[in-house]
Symmetry: C4
Subunit: 266 residues, 4 copies
């Protein structure tokens, strides 16, 4: 803390922008925001349950109002502080900032409440409610974990594409056969290849809901062979994703460890 | 591109036969065919859905007509160009070509429309519709992936046979026991060992539809033990298949990488 | 083939006893028996299906009669030929042979037909039908595969016991909790801990029939946690069994390869 | 066994306290207690089944009475013998002992019978029955296995937390989407995000009960993608738990082997 006078914009920028922290980690202000995001997400999730909202409608409205107020002030502060960076300075720079990925997420997380006043209940508006769950995504702004994850997935995109294609073809073939065998007896569930796909996905991932099952002898024989032979192949894109993810986690753990070591050394 | 005059047959052969490309990869003409095959497959899949076909019957008929025209011309061109190879030259050579695996697939992909004029709707004819999905298989003509896959599976045929036999015996034994315990209470589902097999397959692959479940105490106890002990063993042919496939994919990736390296070097 | 006169008993012994073949492998006679066992097993399985038996009752009776005749003659021949071994010679030796494991299996595979004349249809007699499936087990007499398998399982008995105990405890604990939460609303399915076990097994093996599911909020929350946390632990005895089996298969493959190498060398 | 006179308290302490055995392993007395705990657990489990308790109510009551008598005497003896350790001597020391973890488990395993006289049948009292299953947990007092297990889990707490968070987020996102798509058609099952969570857990663990499934086209398409992509990621906390456990088992096996070696050497 050298003897240096901050402007308000500089102060806001240093406290709001995660990348502006000299020592790494989050500023105190951003820590509060992360906790508030988690709280806001829980509120958004619980509010969808009518029995809870019916029991205490005022509580949810007040919580939403408080959350949206804080997030709105934070949003305006971020837009103002963005001017500290040369490329976002001036009015046109601020507009450019507002069209950046994270600024849009920040805005979408508060818009639904502002637009509807917190009173909504239909399909289109339910989509807006979903937007509020972008609040969960906002935590990503403060975390490098998703960067390493998307890197790991990108590094295996060919394997994913190839095994995903094979998985898709196996589902397609089994759907086609079950469509042929079962369309007459179960037109609702197997009356077309796209319809039979629902059965294919549920069976070959071994989820097996049982809402749709073959009933003819030929259909069952084919379904049995499909299940035994196909499950291993469907598991491959799944396995590749899991491997990519666990690799990303390992790298991140090592990074975190190194950072701790550095901190301990200093 | 040396100063050399092509005959039409030679020109067609060089553009149609995937193996005739000097630099590897697909000719521009074959790239168009691959995309058309994918489009034709999508049409064949969506057309099975009555609600879609009812909404725009003309569109599907025209698309099918266009696809079949192009594929018919392509088929005739391939038969004509096959004469470029000594073993397929002459009328008897052309007949020999028409009986080769890929030529039959090419023909079966267009026959259903030609035979029925695109208007059909019963079990036998649904089989013909399925034939049109051989269009998907036609992509295999242009891909070496399935060669390495079938090689990998062939290399593990003993392990597959052995573990497949064990999986079958476990299913047989559990079917036999559930037949004994449940036949009296559920004759429809467990009235014979072949009937009980449907339950066995669904349980031991962990799909577990639930359309057929044991209800007697003895049946449930035995089913519980079977599930815990048997699932690992059933997973083996599945695991061997997946390992063979992922090996084939790895080899193919390396091959593709080497080819890219060679291209970059030249 | 030295100039040496066989007695009938010696001839039968050399052709019937798998261990008596000098060159390894099965004698021509035993090969026929193995195929007959497979045929007899298929007959026994299909016969349980009433629609098949009703369509052609005579065929099944004649097939069964033929099978039992051949197996009876084979059984008597084995008992007679057993006298070739010192410990089974004489009347008391033969009785001792008839009480050996494989002789009992051989006898049980023919007894049901002899006792009932091939006409039966009730629970107790269905158990006898099951005995005929011991015909499948008879193949084991001619195979060393099951020896190496049971060795491999025996070698991991401690791991199996420990992980099996843990799996059992997790199932017990989740059963107990669901009994507490769900007994009032679903007394039939969760009215006692043993009843709730059926749900535990179906859930933690991921079979998930869905015939029995928690409906209370607390039950569902607990079931969700159980599913996420417990599935990996239940998979352990399953994984140990699979590993033991794949090891046994690998050993057997190597053995078979070595034998082939020896044959090729000689 | 040197010439040394024991006091009663010293004698009890040496026989009751697992850690007080010089040679490792369990004293004869504690072996009897372990078997009695297993017997008491079986009684507690079977007693929840009304058909069994109805058939022979006296037997269960007498068994419970006998078990609780023995455990009560054992409990009092443990409290008395605890005085052998300096920190538990005197009346205040005994109270401190009674508030230690294992002493509370011992007490809770006998309390329900003493409080209710063995006659109970309602939700609150069913919780007391559950307490009696703490008898199973009592075996842990005599086993070091759970120590190494909890160590292994603790050592991987960061990986578990990270992958558990990812699994939770995937479930949350798929719940949110299915809530949007299915809330109108199935308000009971998908009417809020917490409700849709039950579907998410059942699907992404591949349990797939089928009591709740998407029925709209959009819901099914999204559910299919979720199932294929999400299953691998959900399997990660599960896999980490299993790896931690199998590591703990391996360590324990080595420990047991070393102990056996030491015994054989001496």
């Amino acid at each position: 803390m050298r003897g240096y006078t901050f402007t308000l914009r500089e102060f806001l920028y240093r406290n709001l922008e995660p990348a502006a922290q000299a020592e790494g980690g989050l500023s105190h202000f951003n820590r509060v925001i992360v906790w508030l995001i988690i709280f806001a997400s829980v509120v958004a999730i619980l509010e969808t349950e009518d029995t809870l909202r019916g029991a205490m409608p005022g509580v949810f409205w007040i919580a939403e109002f408080f959350i949206v107020m804080v997030f709105s002030i934070e949003y305006l502060a971020r837009v103002y502080a963005a001017g500290e960076q040369p490329r976002y300075s001036g009015v046109r720079g601020r507009l450019r900032y507002m069209l950046s990925w994270w600024a849009i997420v920040d805005l979408l997380a508060i818009l639904p409440f502002i637009l509807t006043g917190g009173t909504y209940n239909s399909f289109i508006i339910r989509l807006l409610k979903l937007l509020r769950l972008l609040r969960v995504a906002r935590v990503g702004r403060f975390s490098q974990a998703w960067v390493s994850l998307s890197d790991a997935i990108y590094g295996r995109r060919f394997e994913l594409a190839l095994s995903g294609t094979v998985a898709f073809l196996i589902m397609l073939i089994s759907s086609a056969f079950l469509y042929v065998f079962e369309a007459d007896t179960q037109p609702e569930a197997f009356g077309s290849i796209p319809r039979a796909f629902w059965w294919s996905v549920a069976t070959l991932t071994t989820v097996g809901y049982g809402d749709v099952t073959p009933v003819t002898v030929l259909g069952r024989i084919f379904a049995g062979f499909t299940a035994v032979a196909g499950i291993g192949l469907i598991a491959m894109p799944t396995g590749i994703l899991a491997a990519a993810f666990s690799e990303a986690m390992r790298k991140r753990n090592e990074l975190a460890k190194n950072e701790n070591d550095v901190k301990e050394d200093s």
